[in-house]
């Protein structure tokens, strides 16, 4: 579904991605792990062009992502952010319908039906007209997931979806992601939740200093005794 070749990205003189080669298959759940600053989030942001990369190629459904209409690409590649980034000027349902109305050109009624369905899916159906600032962190993240789901993207990118949450709220959000994984949607998750990554992922990618160090099954990654870098990383996780 997504094929990445020789991806390089620098910020000023700091090369964050040093030639990434990766493949993400349809209906696959892949977790990307690694230390802070290793390039995980940058890699994710390059996939939906929130960051412009310097070199390399990213193919989505057999076509270079730079050949897509950028807004069309992004509505097919959903993104969930660490800081939720819910639209403060819109209520819960407004956050979910705006993309449907303004991008997919659905009528307000059609958009609301779809939004309610997705909000019910993440357990936020009772909060339709709430101000997003009145929600807890976990609730905000669930609305953010529903917002991404509304456009029915082919893949959802999660950028540390639980890092800004307290332990109670973490479980709330992880349960939603668990259920989504079972539904067969393709997901790429940047996370520091090792237990969760191990449980949910078909594959785990360990990134270190802008390079893919390990790309393997959860069992193989967590039982790796040869790679000093991941051994050290897992020890402190």
């Amino acid at each position: 579904m997504i094929k990445i070749n020789g991806l390089k990205k620098s910020f000023n003189n700091n090369q964050v991605l040093k030639g990434i080669d990766l493949i993400f298959n349809e209906k696959e759940v892949v977790s990307i792990i690694g230390e802070s600053g290793s390039g995980k989030s940058t890699l994710l942001r390059c996939i939906n062009l929130l960051e412009n990369y310097d070199e390399g190629k990213i193919m989505f459904l057999g076509k270079d992502i730079k050949d897509y209409d950028i807004n069309n690409l992004r509505s097919n590649v959903g993104m969930v952010f660490q800081q939720f980034n819910l639209f403060n000027n819109l209520n819960v349902i407004g956050n979910c319908t705006i993309g449907l109305i303004k991008v997919q050109k659905l009528s307000k009624k059609e958009a609301e039906i779809k939004a309610i369905e997705k909000l019910n899916l993440v357990g936020m159906g009772e909060f339709l007209y709430h101000n997003v600032n009145s929600l807890s962190g976990g609730q905000k993240q669930r609305v953010a997931i529903a917002r991404a789901l509304c456009l029915e993207p082919k893949v959802i990118l999660f950028d540390e979806p639980t890092s800004a949450l307290d332990p109670k709220n973490v479980n709330e959000v992880l349960n939603v992601i668990r259920n989504l994984a079972k539904s067969g949607i393709t997901m790429i998750i940047v996370t520091h939740e090792m237990k969760f990554a191990r449980e949910i992922s078909d594959r785990i990618i360990y990134v270190d200093k802008g390079i893919i160090e390990i790309d393997d099954t959860p069992e193989a990654v967590f039982s790796n005794t040869e790679n000093e870098s991941i051994k050290s990383f897992l020890q402190y996780s």
Binding site: L50, N71, R74, G78, F81, F87, G99, L151
Partner: protein, 238 residues
Amino acid sequence: MINKIIMIIREFWPQFVEGLKVTVLLALIGTIIGLIIALIFSALRVVKINKNDKIHIKILKNIGLLFVKTYVTIFRGTPMIVQAVIFYYSFYQAGIKWSAFAAGLFTISLNTAAYLTEVLRGGIESVDKGQTEAARSIGLSSSKTFLYIIFPQALKNSFASIGNELIVNIKDSAVLSVISVIDVFSVADSAAGKYFLFIEAMLVAAGIYLVLTYSTAKILQLIERKLGVETKEMVSSN
């Protein structure tokens, strides 16, 4: 002194009422027109020039940016009283016979636009970058992101400052008496000149301005509370 103040009020109250209407209209309509102009100018002011933009887009963006920056510099850097005289007489010399009220409204609107452009720019820049990223991530174009996500929040963030500008305009419209706009100050000035009661006449004007600005501030506070925005105390912009 009180007797003299009462005498001025008794004799001049119909003129004060007319003057009050002019002051309110100038301040209110001037602020609204200024805000509308500022909405457009602030959008031009915050436009980002991307390296991927086509050359003609880059040129247009640069022209817009330069125009707004120059406009704001000129209007904020010169007194409104001077602007009013220049506009009023230069249009007259060009053969456009316009009333003092129209010239006053023109001046106050353009002046307000300069201040509110900067206020709105601050409001736009205070919106978290994540809002733009989230909007772009669901496929909204940059113009739709600006229109439906950033701008409503910027307007809300700037509400207190916009309200403050209205209050400033109520007071500062007094300088438009220089081009013979008959507002509260101008009526008080006439009354003072007739009886040589400068302090008494200006105390009447001060009372009217105070009631106007105080009640406007209270109304704005009510709206702010309803919108859930913070009240910010600001000094006069002019």
